[in-house]
Symmetry: C2
Subunit: 364 residues, 2 copies
């Protein structure tokens, strides 16, 4: 089958570009002696996780129990669930997973640690624990080194748990290189203080897990970090282009779409709306639009309805015609892939792989 | 099973509220002699479409061929696909559907009409056609009465097609009642001119299809309109609350979520992020946030990550504790439901129905 035969909208991944992205990140990690644990939320596809492992990743990261199950069923046995697992059904499933694989969970409260420990003890399994630090994104994570120590001690003392180290998500560093360098200073101070406290307390730290795609190649500049968890790098997207960590030729994923209407002057309507691209915004100061049209940077994907991409073509120098196809690089690949039941691996205009997005739509 | 037993995040629908919403809209349409053709993109669930039909809807609206197939397979045989269908595979499937049901399609170009006609002729089926007018939303739709006539004539002359009338989407009227009244003037002028042109040309107009949830109960105020296509009214949402077409007690759908972290001062993190709620914004001037917490209007669902709802609780007077459950009314129900494989019908704290979102994730 050819790409031209796919009904639109269709999410396609250039296999050569993806393979290069995966290989380069693995190479960087090897060169800096960092462990690579890709966040598979960006694709939720076991076949792609296996490509990442084949290139040297030491395990994977997921966001949900259901995603871990899908990956484990595919034979992947070293999984970090980078999310505080709370709720009876969830801790039960977590303990199930821990009977079959090497499972680590991040958390930032004694309450979550206690609930996981109770179930782990009952089932006689061990769950690895990373204590999450808030390094400035203000989402999950403790904010002082005293709290790091309190939770690490509680984890070390609880049956069924193994304190493995620290985790942080530098989501606020999804900015330019200079801004990232500035913000890194306070991140490193917090990491240093926390590591010193743990050392004084005699709590060994095996893992310090940082990273995200924007900061991935600066992993070695973070104090103590020996593992990174980038996700988007496998595909890249418009946000990664805008913050300068990817070039156009590094964008492996795009959405093939068809022009369905040109009736309104200055506009072209395509069959990729928010239920295809997601309504995730352009994450840069004064960011606009919902994607980039590969062959026409002068057009703007200005508004999305659920099934309509509303292109402002007032500044475009080319004509648009009903029935023609366009290729859009979405703002945020993780959210785009999550909209779809399957996506396609392509090379030289041919569809070489059809992948089920097996991990999407999981409740827990 | 009880609602309290559902793992979170879970989308629940209060059956009594939903039934009342469905009944009231049907009652309004009866009282004004309007046909009701609910847009099922809001739920994509055949069982709910059937509730709407049971209350007197005359048929349904869908956005995609794949959604029409799901509804047809469930026995629903009067379907408007309110979208210009273009592409060989799509017109083939459309003709397939037309062998089994009464299918109408909206379009705004002769090119789309010709492509559908060619396939309809080959298969010896008839497809009903509504010509779409742009009444100010600037998405699909022709913008002059001359174009209305040109396309209607082309449709009437093409084999396999039946010109049925006009359709418009007053999406720009999702504002306050006064603003809607003002905007309605120009909409009605365009409708009047178009209807006059068609009458002069001897082209009978069977259907003038308008409406959307915000404008639904004003359906009778639009010139010539004899059918409306509201979607969201079955559930309602935060946007409908904000524009004043629904009250809190009319909101049938909410997302049950669990607090997973309270580590960062002034914040509570819940397990409902953009992959649960969607990142659709609050569609009112100066709108903020991604949902409303039912029991704490002082808290703001300020930011979403993929699996984290980041609540700003700085102005909240209550405490938040890890493990507790909250109920969020999302900004936009259509996008929220589309994130999920199944949702739950509940009454008095009990889960009475589990519905597969059978129409989601369809490519075409």
């Amino acid at each position: 089958m050819f790409v031209a035969d796919l009904e639109t909208p269709a999410v396609v991944v250039d296999l050569d570009v993806m393979e290069r992205n995966v290989s380069r990140m693995a190479e960087y990690c090897r060169s800096r002696n960092l462990r690579l644990r890709p966040h598979t939320k960006s694709h939720k596809i076991p076949e792609l996780a296996k490509r990442q492992l084949a290139h040297g990743a030491q395990g994977i990261t997921v966001a949900k129990i259901g995603e871990a199950e899908v990956m484990l069923d595919a034979g992947i046995t070293d999984i970090l669930i980078a999310y505080p697992i709370i709720g009876t059904g969830k801790t039960e499933k977590l303990a199930d997973l821990a009977t079959r694989a090497n499972i680590t969970v991040s958390l930032d409260s004694v309450a979550v640690a206690q609930a996981i420990a109770a179930e782990a003890k009952r089932r006689e399994v061990r769950v690895g624990i990373l204590v999450e630090l808030d390094v400035g994104f203000h989402r999950c994570g403790v904010t002082t080194d005293e709290e790091v120590l309190t939770i690490a001690r509680a984890v070390a003392d609880l049956p069924g748990l193994e304190f493995k180290g620290l985790m942080f998500f530098p989501g606020h560093l999804q900015v330019t290189e200079n801004e990232r360098a500035e913000l890194r200073v306070s991140v490193n101070e917090f990491l240093s203080r926390s590591l010193a406290k743990l050392e004084d307390a005699g709590l060994p730290v095996e893992i310090v897990s940082g990273g995200s795609t924007p900061t991935a190649r600066e992993g070695h500049l973070f104090t103590g970090v020996n593992e990174i968890r980038p996700g988007m790098y496998i595909f890249n997207d418009r946000n990664m282009l805008s913050v300068g960590v990817a070039r156009l030729e590094d964008c492996a994923l795009s959405v093939i779409t068809t022009v369905v209407s040109t009736s309104v002057p200055g506009r072209a309507i395509v069959d990729a709306g928010s239920k295809t691209l997601s309504s995730d915004t352009h994450q840069v100061p004064e960011g606009r639009g919902f994607g980039m049209i590969k062959t026409d940077p002068d057009a703007e994907v200005e508004r999305l309805s659920e099934e309509h991409g509303n292109l402002n073509i007032a500044r475009s120098t080319r004509e648009y015609r009903v029935g023609e196809r366009l290729e859009i690089i979405p703002n945020h690949v993780c959210s785009t892939v999550n909209m779809h039941n399957r996506i396609y691996g392509v090379s030289g205009g041919r569809v070489e792989a059809v992948w089920e997005v097996a991990g999407r739509g999981k409740v827990q």
